[in-house]
Amino acid sequence: MTAAGPPGGTRPKLRLAGVAKEYTGRRRGTVRAIGGVDLDVRPGEFVSLVGPSGCGKSTLLYIIGGFVAASGGTVDCDGRPVTAPGPDRGIVFQEFALFPWRTVAGNVAWALARRGVPRAERPAATARLLETVGLAEVARLYPAELSGGMKQRVAIARTLAQDPDVLLMDEPFGALDAQTRALLQEELLAVWERTGKTVVFVTHSVEEALYLSDRVVVLSRRPARVLEVIEPGFARPRDREKVLADPAYPALHARVWELLRAGGAA
């Protein structure tokens, strides 16, 4: 059931070993947010992190990104320890985090420039990326002029412009309406299948995690630990109706929910 690794390589893309995070809270002293997470992510794999709200799944993603320092354990990317953000790990936030003073094309071109794409090649590369996310017509608009779904498409295009090996996604579709969310899920799968990027996807939606992922990592409530790793194993390329109609789906769905409830009630 596991996805095949790339030819000639079994080294994980990401290796989390004993990752822990403690905060000094304002009133309650030390708060343990993450209580030791071990996880290997294979190159090209699509892994979702689900867990009760406030369990620290976004923090775990930020630690992988190098934006937040872990207080214990290590994160390796391609065998090298992660100590800071890097272009090999791109991130997409729920709140889009677009540069409001740059146009749609400007946001994408800026990331291309950081990667060292020569100025002359940027317009064509920008147009290709915007084509990828279906936004060719709005290249000259500012983010404030776009809908939420369009903003998130721009954010994805900008992150792809950075050409990272790993795509970190922090509840990227959480702020969108159901229809837009479904469309973007399909588009994300198409992009992922075409580019072969490794995706770590934080969500609170069990349906979303099962539909998109190779593996669903279910985290406990604070301090977050891995409760169970579930492999949906639906055929790729995925089709939403087929996934929902799959005889295995209800049991998987029920199992994740059972874990979330148990983890949440602990």
Binding site: P85, W101, R114, R115, A144, R158
Partner: protein, 260 residues
């Protein structure tokens, strides 16, 4: 309310004021000749604008104004941005600004003259004091708004830039500065108003040359129409500057949704 309606209401309020001003002296409601009717004041304004002596004073004032405001922008904006990004610096400077804040900046002209008078000829001391007072008056709104703007940059924008490979300097130039720009520009709008009243105030207090001195001269020789005419000019200049500035900012920042 539609924009046209809003404009009509605002225009009506100004029209009522102008009407009262015109009527009160004519109906004998004004106490004495010190308040001429508006029409005469406006005629006086035209005369003042045509007066070569006034234009000379205006040039002196404009140079002072530009020097004072320019110094405040050059010092205040970088200081504010630095404060916004370096909490230690903010802690160091903020109490000093808080001390300066309630002081009427025009009043500082007197101690400034005391200090400067010991070190330079009187004319230069006067000039330096006037420019310094304008700069001090504008410094606080500029510094405080730049500090707020720079401190309030959405951290995820900086994370995104860092992940894309932008170094410290580039993050400052390409993320912090544009993100802080709307607030810097709204600080500048406040500074524009402050600069006008500290300019005229300093010129009234430390006389010599300038529009304020011209105003006071008219008062001294009892030319009340000219006093009112210059006052109206100063008010109109403020209004035109403020409105023009707001329009320019809207053009300059098409992406900005808020008010400046």
């Amino acid at each position: 309310m539609s924009p046209a309606r809003r404009l009509a209401v605002s225009a009506a309020s100004v029209a009522v004021l102008c009407g009262c001003w015109e009527a009160a002296p004519r109906l004998g409601l004004a106490p004495d000749a010190s308040l001429p009717p508006l029409s005469r004041v406006l005629a006086g304004t035209a005369a003042v604008l045509g007066d070569a002596a006034f234009r000379d004073q205006l040039a002196v004032s404009a140079a002072r104004w530009a020097a004072g405001l320019g110094c405040a922008v050059l010092a205040g904006v970088p200081l504010g941005v630095a404060m916004g990004r370096a909490p230690l610096l903010r802690r160091l400077v903020e109490p000093l600004l808080a001390l300066l804040y309630p002081v009427p900046k025009v009043a500082l002209v007197v101690p400034l003259l005391l200090v400067l008078g010991q070190r330079m000829p009187a004319g230069r001391a006067d000039e330096t004091a006037r420019v310094a007072v304008i700069a001090l008056g504008c410094l606080i709104p500029l510094t405080v708004s730049a500090a707020h703007g720079a401190a309030g940059v959405e951290p995820r924008l900086l994370w995104t830039a860092r992940a894309a490979g932008a170094g410290r300097v580039r993050r400052l130039a390409a993320v912090v500065l544009p993100a802080a720009l709307p607030q810097v520009l709204s600080g500048l709008r406040i500074a524009l108003a402050v600069s006008l009243f500290t300019l005229v105030g300093a010129e009234l207090l430390v006389r010599g040359q300038g529009v304020g001195a011209y105003l006071f001269d008219a008062y001294d020789i009892g030319e009340y129409t000219r006093v009112w005419a210059v006052t109206v000019l100063v008010a109109a200049t403020g209004l035109v500057l403020d409105t023009g500035y707001a329009l320019a900012v809207r053009r300059l920042l098409p992406w900005w949704e808020g008010e400046v």
